[in-house]
């Protein structure tokens, strides 16, 4: 084909940012990191790869780029920060007292279909709150997510909160086989009541629990959904407890002025399989996909030998950049014009450039052709 060169081809899933694009991303990252720092989180720069079994989990394992190391061990490029941070908290940081507040900003790599600003290499900015009182930590993390969006200047965004304990409570102890459970979860996530009914046929799960699972598909909207949920789920103690936990967090956020930014979505049971409690996703007008999300994972650290509850969230830098662009709110990053310096006497010109730089002026240095 015209204009192609074998070596100029790029593999699917990679991208590169130049000039203004790169400046915007850097600015977005600075804003988000300053919010994380403002809530007294410490930066952690974890390794780019680790043993592959750190990242096992049904959702991530098939998306992981793994390879065999020189010593024969299977290694993987990090597909996710959370597992890595859990491991580090249980290992290198084992003597640190909980709660620990850690944040990160960097790339993860996943085999994933390219979609809406999400390539195989994604830049995630996120934090983890490890240990500590659970409801306070949940509320804090949601408040930090909200502040990030405020500081970024995004508009018409929503935090959609749910709790995986509701779905899990309803199916607990019923003995559904794994395949049926997956099909059921998938239909609940799609808010498809007819599909939920169909996937429960002949499962042995019936009566109040079956009716509640079907109702779950419609339990999404304003925070008043929780009142309805408390009534419908009263018969199932674990699910009712989950609703109470969620309500405690929602009430705190409402009291803190975030009532208009909250949506409740009890059919929101997707996400990575390590979530055990609160889950949330951030949506905004102008972008059909979530901008970020997070949740509580109380069993993950136990896998690494330090049982500790935790909650975290992340924003996708690519998604944030795309959203701000669509909303006409991309950060203004045009630098001041540079002073052109150069000329015949190279030494004198360089001395002048250094002087200008010492006073903070942006310079463009060149041997005459820049004038």
């Amino acid at each position: 084909m015209n204009g192609t060169h074998r070596l100029a081809q790029v593999p699917p899933g990679v991208q590169c940012f130049v000039g203004e694009e790169a400046r915007r991303r850097r600015r977005i990252e600075e804003v988000v990191v300053s919010v994380f720092e403002g809530w007294d989180y410490e930066e952690i720069i974890p390794p780019l790869f680790d043993y592959a079994d750190v990242f096992t989990g049904e959702a991530l394992a098939p998306k992981t780029y793994s390879f065999v190391g020189r010593d024969g061990n299977v290694l993987a490029l990090r597909p996710d920060f959370t597992s890595l941070l859990a491991k580090i908290a249980a290992g290198r940081l084992r003597d640190r007292k909980a709660p620990m507040r850690l944040y990160y900003s960097g790339e993860v790599v996943r085999y994933e279909p390219v979609k809406a600003g999400r390539q195989s290499e994604l830049h995630q900015m996120g934090l983890e709150h490890l240990g500590g009182e659970a409801r306070a930590a949940d509320a804090e993390v949601l408040a930090i997510a909200a502040e990030c969006l405020e500081r970024l200047g995004a508009s018409e965004w929503v935090l959609a909160v749910g709790h995986v304990g509701i779905f899990n409570g309803l199916v607990e102890g019923v003995g559904l086989d794994a395949e049926r459970l997956e099909a059921l979860r998938e239909r609940v996530e799609s808010k498809d009541p007819a599909g939920v009914r169909a996937s429960l046929e002949g499962s042995g799960l019936e009566g109040a629990a079956a009716a509640a699972l079907e109702r779950l598909t419609a339990m999404a909207g304003g925070t008043d959904v929780l009142d309805d949920a408390a009534r419908v789920l009263a018969f199932c103690p674990p699910a009712a407890r989950a609703v109470d936990e969620l309500r405690a967090v929602v009430d705190a956020l409402r009291a803190a002025g975030l009532a208009d930014r909250l949506a409740v979505d009890l059919a929101e049971v997707r996400g990575l399989d390590y979530y055990t409690g609160l889950v949330f996703r951030i949506f905004a007008r102008g972008l059909g996909f979530e901008v970020g999300g997070g949740g509580r994972y109380d069993t993950l650290l136990g896998r690494f030998g330090r049982p500790l509850g935790a909650v975290g969230f992340m924003l996708g830098l690519d998604r944030v950049a795309l959203l701000l662009d669509r909303q006409g709110r991309a950060p203004e990053v045009t630098p001041a014009p540079a002073a052109a310096i150069g000329g015949g006497d190279l030494g004198a010109a360089l001395a002048e450039a250094r002087e200008k730089r010492a006073s903070g002026t942006r310079v463009r240095f060149g041997n005459g052709e820049e004038r």
Binding site: S190, D192, G195, T217, A284, R285, L287, F289
Partner: protein
Amino acid sequence: MSLTVALSKGKLLAGSEALFRRAGLPFPDGEGRRLVVEAGSLRFLFVKDMDVPTYVEYGVADCGVAGRDVLLETGADVLEPLDLGFGRCRLVVASPAGSGFAPHRAATTRVASKYAKVAAGHFLGRGLAVEVVRLAGSVEIAPGLGLADCIVDVVETGRTLAENGLEVIETVAESSARLIVNRASFHARRDEVQRLVETLRRTSR
């Protein structure tokens, strides 16, 4: 800004129009060739049936009407709050009538289909090797001409199958028209979306 609704130009169009009119919702008049049409409080996109889920998944359309068959094939991550009840059909495996064809007797089954993903998933999921021949249409003639052993396709009455000497071996999935909603629109434009869903729910009941 008005909500955007993606509709199929294909077989679900008549049912969608009837539903919207019955519900008292705006719908574009006339047989125009325009593919993006404003009508009252809604904006309509008329696209290929296989593309409806994509427009909705990306949020270019807030809502859409798509067959369950198409949703299975595209695997689009969208909400499906309503079974609209029309456009009922079945996705089936069909092979030449009287041929006694049975997939588990062949080392590899050759399947012709527009639904390549559904077809592959159906056989592979049961531990059967499969070679999918992807076609864009007229799938029914493939077995007779030796292109494939069987087909995976939608049937409503079964007449087209019979006319081409095929019979249904098994059902892969039942299908009907679904109202689909973008995940972000569902929350970011909650009031408008909920109103539309409720209006259509009352009408399609």
